[in-house]
Symmetry: C2
Subunit: 250 residues, 2 copies
Amino acid sequence: MLSTGSNAHSNFAAVAMMKPQLETLDELFAAVPRETLDVGAGLFWEGDRAQHIFEVSEGVLRIFKIIGDGRRVITGFLYAGDMVGLTLRDVYLYSAEAVTPVKVRRLTKKAFQDAVEHSPELRPRLFALMCDEMAAAQDQMVLLSRKSAEERVCSFLMLTARRMQGNRQLGRTVQLPMSRQDMADYLGLTIETVSRTITKLIARGVIAPNGRHAFDIAKPGKLLALCGDGDSYEEIGERGAKTRQAVWPH
Amino acid sequence: MLSTGSNAHSNFAAVAMMKPQLETLDELFAAVPRETLDVGAGLFWEGDRAQHIFEVSEGVLRIFKIIGDGRRVITGFLYAGDMVGLTLRDVYLYSAEAVTPVKVRRLTKKAFQDAVEHSPELRPRLFALMCDEMAAAQDQMVLLSRKSAEERVCSFLMLTARRMQGNRQLGRTVQLPMSRQDMADYLGLTIETVSRTITKLIARGVIAPNGRHAFDIAKPGKLLALCGDGDSYEEIGERGAKTRQAVWPH
DNA sequence: ATGCGCTGTTACAGACTGTTACACATTTCA
DNA sequence: TGAAATGTGTAACAGTCTGTAACAGCGCAT
């Protein structure tokens, strides 16, 4: 069942206001006690009244929607430092569950809104955060709309590699704490296709398994090329020089 | 043709600031002269320095990204009243082109930011706008990730039907000003699949063609059921009662 | 009116991914 | 320890959607 962990969300709500000038959104949450979520536990569900904003302080969260006949779409994974539940609607538009043991802090929506409304420092930060979220959503649309299974898996590996290491130069190892099913539901594939694709990448020596939920990136250049983003410098793929079709803006 | 009541405001460029309390984002743009875009003309391109925010006052715009080998993903269509270019980044993250003849008004990003920063009325409206955009993006992810070709086309018809009529009770006719290729690039399908799917819907009497770029919705209930959203009251589809599989939140 | 070009439709073969099934590994619990 | 439950890997088959192509409809120019 869903034990929301220790729900000691005592009313530290307004305490955040005591510091006259908060400079980062992090600081807003700093004074609030942390709550713990077990693996698989839900933080909130799609349709719940949206009364709190959360900050992940440890662990990984998945946010997802479910449509009629049980199909699940994971719209994102959230890591330490990310915020959840940011919406003006009166209900949450998605559900949030713990992929790993998670620690979060919560603020009432009202407290959060007041704090932002009264701090000229915080507003642009919130705005920037939402812009980043939007940019990520659009990248995901590109992935889901036009990328092959292999490109999706490679993109996910690259994205996760960058995020896990706190955006520092991507390390050689990627941790994938979520299950294959989670990956499939995030990438718009089936679990088998994810599995096959990973197997193929290993066989080609692009990545090497490092336990069940981690991979060493053996050929970062090739992995990047396989993402299908066709960025700036076109990597020399193994399917020959792409024709670099003129972008043809109508 | 889509003509919103054209109230010929003439050039009062920066006058917007004179009114002490703006109440809607529309009013911000009201004083700016309108610019015209021909069909197919670009408003800005992905990677351009993002110096302006635009409001569509007439016509339809498509916003899209292009990846390496020419694949195009349309991330949205914008109608009268929508805003474009809203980002804190210093470059646009997508391109914008006119699907129909378009009229827009522009504000420099700085002017826009200042206005919002100084108006407690405007800020929540902007926030709400971005939340709506985020919600739309997530719905699109669901569509691209887990919906069949038929569900995608039906969802698009419903969405467009609602938007075109200015959100009033959905009329019987849907205008689709964009090309089949645009629809395909928005829905993550090929032009042929879009065409075939539409043909099938016509054959089944769900919709009826009304010129090349418009359809009459003959069976709104069935169209809604075919969207695959499995909402609240489960419509009685033609594939029998779905088993309403328990949502099984892990 | 005729021809050209663009958009949209239809048909068919084929590819990629999904479906189904089963084997194996790991963990949990009796 | 063993059995059940869960997660994962592999394979054969099937299905949807795609890619290619030819054709039809419409607008526009010669």
